[in-house]
């Protein structure tokens, strides 16, 4: 919302600096994003008259101009523009002048002749046609009116004001208007705002004899007011009106159109003017569009509408799209003789749907979406008619045509003023509250515990509901000053602050990954069919069931990820390509499976990915085993060959704890790697954070430290290739020894010389001890023999020679 200072000054005594005003408004809940010059960045550009034009001796296309800028000496300035003439008033950038885009002007020699400045085009001054006529003409800007020589260009074009750019919150639609903003500004400045008085124009005759209005859908159009003006004299609007329209970025067109725009800016009510001669039988019908109906709008575009779109029509055809744009068939032209002014309320949500359906947003539609209010609708049309009379733009016909289904009666709410104090923790008397509300032009009176508040028609944000107390509390707080609210500490029960067990678990898992040299990734949750395809995920895989977005950015971001793999591979590809030198990453994030008619299943996953010369399946597995040891589940974990298609066959495993699959790991399939641009082998794992939480060991019990020596022993056996390490370890552990057998660990696998083809040697270390004595050599030998025998019996393993 743009509020020009000059316009503001018509309603308030502006007795503070602009910066102070920004602060005062901030404390009222209005953020002023910027204080703009009307011509930002332009300085030292003045009005000059071209006294003489001579041809440049050394360049055909250059002219040497003598400029009178009201100073003692004339300036010589060279220009290449062809539209200059002697006697023209032009903008002159003198030495040191700043122009649009940060250009700074200094004297310069052009083909042997010195030029002491520059003549400017409208564009070089940052002007558009809306700011000043001729601004977008190719060439130097020729000033239209007479101006004193040496006057600043800002004053000459009437853009010497500052404009406050105010960021409005959506609850204050009433402030998308000069009047609304000035009300708040006056309150912030501690001044009484006087509502402008609108002179009622009685007019001749009765509009009802000319026109009729029928509203078919009053839910979409709760109020529609029309007025008729005849004997229209289309002309440019007066300079003051044009200047004001320009100051808020609107381009003057003609008196009638300018009046509608001016009223919209001033009162916040969008209006429309129809050429009444184009309305068949003078009948306005507000109705829904017919399927496939086409309306050609003012911008010349043919728009096909549906029954969701509200139209302004006559008995023959659509003449406008309600709340969005008028129709070309009823446009105001030079020849317009009679005008039908429309001031109406259209339902915001319907206009919102319409703008989406038509992909077209206008100033008017934006205001309807934010909400216009039916009492203001009347004020606006009265104001428009007042302006018609003031500008002598036509003969006003008497009487409104008003179709009103809206409740426009005065709204009174009862507020529990003690409750207001309770909400704010203040101690303000009811009488003081009445005074505070009065500064906002809200009238109230005290009746015991109740504050009877008459809500101004424009304050639709103040509800007649349970919310009333809170609404008034907010108004009181704005006047009282948020800075005056003394911070307090919460009373009542004490609370034991803590992390939930799940949060603590997640923290611990992340910290463990960091301890293992991993960097934490954050990847987006979006993925696409191409990525699923690259991951070789097929229809039979649950990861194929991705949640699909209705309005994604694009196909490649149209799904919610079902696995962390794609993001992890992108990260690794980026780091490989940029040669960042790090190859261990992890992420904790959610995946979603569309396996539920209600909300999708959300799984929090831990993803790990390793790449680099030193990494392999087992370096990754080592980290997972470390996690499991820390979580007290290492003894319960098993690794079963198998897993997703994005892993390479033969180098992938499902990870089970207590027999439940909690994740998988493996070497990334070369085709998948290639698709993601990962140039080297990569190893990844994905584990359910929730399952890790459920299966982890909580609480430990101390076990006595052994009193008697622990004896380490090694054993190497030769087995068939198909025998797994897990099988051998399990067999050793299961051997019926008479001592305590512990710490069974594989430390070497050997194939080659001395070992028959199809066999391998596996070397294990283990320890033996007893609880109650030091073991004898006999005990130790006996245990080893038992192990050897067991291995032979169960796995046909031979002691390595």
């Amino acid at each position: 919302m743009k509020l020009p200072l000059k316009w503001l000054k018509e309603y308030v005594d502006f007795n503070v600096t602009p910066e102070k005003f920004v602060e005062l408004m901030m404390w009222r809940g209005f953020e002023i994003a910027d204080i703009e010059d009307e011509m930002p960045g332009i300085s030292n550009v003045v009005v000059g008259r071209i006294e003489k034009i001579e041809q440049h001796p050394n360049a055909d296309k250059l002219k040497i101009c003598t400029l009178n800028i009201g100073a003692e000496e004339n300036l010589i300035i060279i220009t290449g523009a062809s539209n200059v003439f002697e006697g023209a008033l032009v903008p002159v950038a003198v030495d040191g002048a700043a122009l649009a885009g940060g250009v700074v002007i200094h004297p310069t020699v052009m083909r042997g002749v010195e030029s002491f400045g520059m003549l400017c085009s409208g564009q070089e001054l940052g002007l558009t046609e809306a700011d000043y006529p001729g601004a977008e003409v190719y060439g130097i800007l020729i000033l239209q009116e007479d101006h004193p020589l040496g006057q600043t260009i800002q004053e000459a074009v009437g853009l010497n004001d500052i404009v406050f750019d105010i960021e409005l919150t959506p609850n204050r639609a009433d402030c998308i208007s000069i009047i609304g903003m000035c009300r708040e500004a006056a309150a912030a400045l501690g001044q009484k705002f006087v509502e402008p008085a609108i002179k009622q124009v009685a007019g001749e005759g009765d509009a009802k004899d000319y026109a009729s209005v029928q509203v078919m859908d009053t839910d979409l159009c709760p109020r529609y007011i029309g007025r008729v003006v005849k004997d229209i004299k289309i002309a440019p609007s007066p300079a003051w009106m044009q200047k004001k329209l320009r100051s808020v970025g609107l381009r003057p067109i003609n008196n009638i159109v300018d009046i509608t725009n001016y009223v919209m800016i001033e009162y916040g009510q969008p209006m429309h003017a129809f050429d009444f001669s184009c309305i068949t039988d003078g009948q306005i019908i507000v109705r829904r569009g017919n399927e496939g109906e086409v309306v050609k709008t003012l911008d010349g575009k043919e728009r096909t509408v549906s029954p969701n779109v509200l139209l302004i029509a006559d008995p023959a055809r659509g003449v406008g799209i309600a709340g969005v744009m008028g129709g070309e068939n009823s446009e105001i032209t030079e020849g317009t003789n009679t005008v039908f002014f429309e001031s109406a309320v259209f339902k915001g949500s319907n206009i919102r749907h319409t703008t989406r359906e038509l992909h077209h947003v206008t100033d008017a539609s934006a205001r309807f979406v934010k909400g216009v209010e039916p009492v203001n609708t009347q004020l606006a049309i009265d104001r428009a008619i007042e302006l018609v009379a003031e500008l002598g733009a036509g003969t006003v016909i008497g009487g409104n045509i008003d179709v009103c289904a809206a409740d426009i009666s005065e709204r009174v709410i009862n507020v529990d003023w003690k409750h207001v104090n309770h909400i704010l923790n203040t101690d303000i008397s009811a009488e003081d509250m009445v005074k505070m509300l009065d500064t906002l032009n809200i009238s109230a009176k005290v009746e015991g515990d109740v504050l009877v508040v008459t809500v101004p028609h424009y304050r639709v944000d103040i509800e007649s509901s349970i919310e009333s107390d809170w609404d008034i509390a907010e108004e009181i707080a704005r006047v009282y000053g948020y800075y005056n609210i003394e911070p307090t500490l919460m009373q009542g029960d004490t609370f034991r602050g803590c992390l939930s067990p799940e949060t603590r678990h997640e923290d611990q898992v992340k910290d463990m990954c960091v301890a293992m040299g991993c960097y934490e990734m954050y990847n987006y949750n979006f993925t696409g069919p191409a990525a699923l395809n690259a991951l070789r995920i097929t229809e039979d895989d649950e990861k194929y069931l991705a949640v699909k977005l209705m309005n994604p950015f694009g196909e490649d971001q149209s799904l919610m990820r079902t696995t962390l793999m794609a993001g992890m591979l992108n990260t690794v590809a980026l780091n490989c390509n940029r040669k960042t030198g790090h190859g261990r990453f992890f992420e904790v994030g959610n995946v979603h499976l569309n396996n539920n008619p209600d909300l999708p299943e959300e799984r929090k996953m831990l993803g790990l990915i390793f790449t680099g010369a030193e990494e392999n399946f087992f370096t990754l597995k080592g980290v997972i085993e470390y996690l499991f040891r820390k979580l007290g589940m290492a003894d319960r974990a098993e690794y079963v060959p198998g897993g997703s298609q994005f892993f390479q066959p033969g180098q992938k495993a499902l990870i089970k704890v207590d027999g439940q699959v909690i994740g998988e790991m493996g070497a990334v399939h070369p085709e998948t790697r290639k698709a993601f641009g990962v140039p080297q082998a990569a190893y990844a794992a994905e584990l359910s954070v929730k399952k890790l939480f459920e299966l982890r060991e909580n609480g430990k019990t101390y076990k006595a430290i052994p009193k008697y020596p622990t004896v380490p022993r090694d054993i190497a056996v030769v087995v068939d290739e198909c025998v797994t390490s897990a099988q051998v370890a399990a067999a050793i552990k299961a051997a019926p020894v008479k001592v305590l057998l512990e710490n069974v660990e594989l430390f070497d696998v050997y194939r080659g010389t001395g070992i028959p083809e199809g066999k391998k040697s596996m070397a294990y270390s283990y320890t033996v001890r007893a609880e109650d004595r030091t073991l004898t050599d006999e005990d130790i030998t006996d245990a080893m023999n038992t192990i050897i025998r067991t291995l032979k019996e169960t796995l046909n393993a031979d002691l390595r020679a």
Partner: protein
């Protein structure tokens, strides 16, 4: 004999003086005190002497023996010390060479670190973590929070839709509805999580970002309690010197609503590029929970009061670490991650 003794003494002292290493000392030891050593020979020959002579010579020999032993031990220690010195010199290292570890260090993402810091400040104030789904009912994300269908403020947050009833949550506030419906008040909750908005990616926007919300429900909460809670919290996160500005704003789910600024962490409030010259940085939105929300979730707003505040963890991390482009936080370049 006396002369011989004196000769041995002088010779030995001379040899000790010339000895350069422990081996030379050992050789002298053997030559003087060994089985056939010069002094040993003299002691052996004492049997031939008369009793009187034996006593006198014995005293003499013992004196020399003691003296030589002492000298020898001293010289030995001296040489050992010297040898050690030499060895140390040889073993001296360049202490400025880099250290070695078997495992390269890992790094938590700056966002996680920031989140934990903020969260832990609130835990100290009696808050507990509470999480919920990223893919959420429209009802919880909007309607229950006083944002019914077609409410103009729905446009404040451009939403990704899964279907008419399901959205990607646009904020962590649906957790307020979940907490109100599922937990027994009073409670104080920290509600973190990823949220989603239809925002094209640029230096300051991301369609996915991390939010964290504080939510308190109790009998007698006031706007002043909210302000006090935020002040304590801000001092815990940004330091005691930071100033807070608590100013009116609007959110559909709170009333009165407030936005909170802190004095610029870079310039301290004088005005700089980070704070765009204002001296203040906007960090969170907050307010007293709207009575419609409490009512929608089955709580009597006259009996129970609530307040909430929410902040963008990405934004706080950016401010804290001076990260100028939010895209870096989702790119996972190791050279970025290892800085934190």
């Amino acid at each position: 004999m006396k002369d011989t003794l004196e000769k041995i003494r002088l010779n030995t002292l001379e040899s000790l003086k010339n000895a350069e290493d422990e081996a030379a000392i050992d050789a002298i030891n053997l030559a003087v005190f060994g089985k056939n050593g010069s002094l040993t020979e003299i002691l052996k020959g004492m049997g031939k002497l008369s009793k009187e002579e034996r006593a006198a010579v014995g005293q003499l020999v013992n004196g020399v023996k003691k003296e030589l032993e002492k000298e020898l031990n001293e010289r030995k220690a001296e040489i050992a010390a010297k040898m050690q010195e030499l060895r140390f010199a040889k073993e001296a290292i360049d202490v400025t060479e880099p250290g070695k570890i078997s495992m390269p260090e890992g790094h938590l993402h700056p966002m996680t670190q920031t989140y934990r810091e903020i969260r832990d400040a609130l835990v100290g104030m009696g808050f507990t973590t509470y999480e919920g789904p990223e893919v959420e009912y429209d009802d919880y994300n909007f309607t229950k929070l006083n944002l019914p269908l077609d409410h103009p403020a729905r446009d404040m947050q451009d939403t990704f839709y899964v279907n008419d009833k399901v959205v990607l949550r646009t904020h962590t506030s649906p957790l307020e509805a979940r907490a109100l419906l599922n937990l027994k008040p009073p409670f104080r909750l920290i509600m973190p999580g990823r949220v989603f908005r239809v925002d094209e990616v640029d230096a300051s926007h991301s369609p996915v970002f991390m939010q964290m919300e504080g939510f308190v429900v109790d009998k007698d909460l006031t706007l002043a309690d909210l302000k006090g809670t935020l002040l304590t919290f801000i001092h815990a996160v940004f330091g005691e010197d930071v100033k807070m500005r608590f100013r009116p704003s609007y959110f559909p789910f709170t009333e009165p609503s407030a936005e909170v600024d802190v004095s610029c962490t870079l310039c301290g409030g004088k005005g700089c590029r980070l704070c765009k010259g204002t001296g203040w940085l906007e960090i969170l939105g907050s307010g007293v929970t709207n009575p419609h929300e409490l009512e929608n979730c089955g709580l009597d707003p006259k009996e129970w009061k609530a307040f909430a505040f929410g902040l963008g963890v990405d934004r706080i991390a950016s401010l804290k670490y001076g990260i100028t482009d939010i895209r870096l936080e989702y790119e996972n370049d190791a050279r970025f991650l290892k800085q934190f």
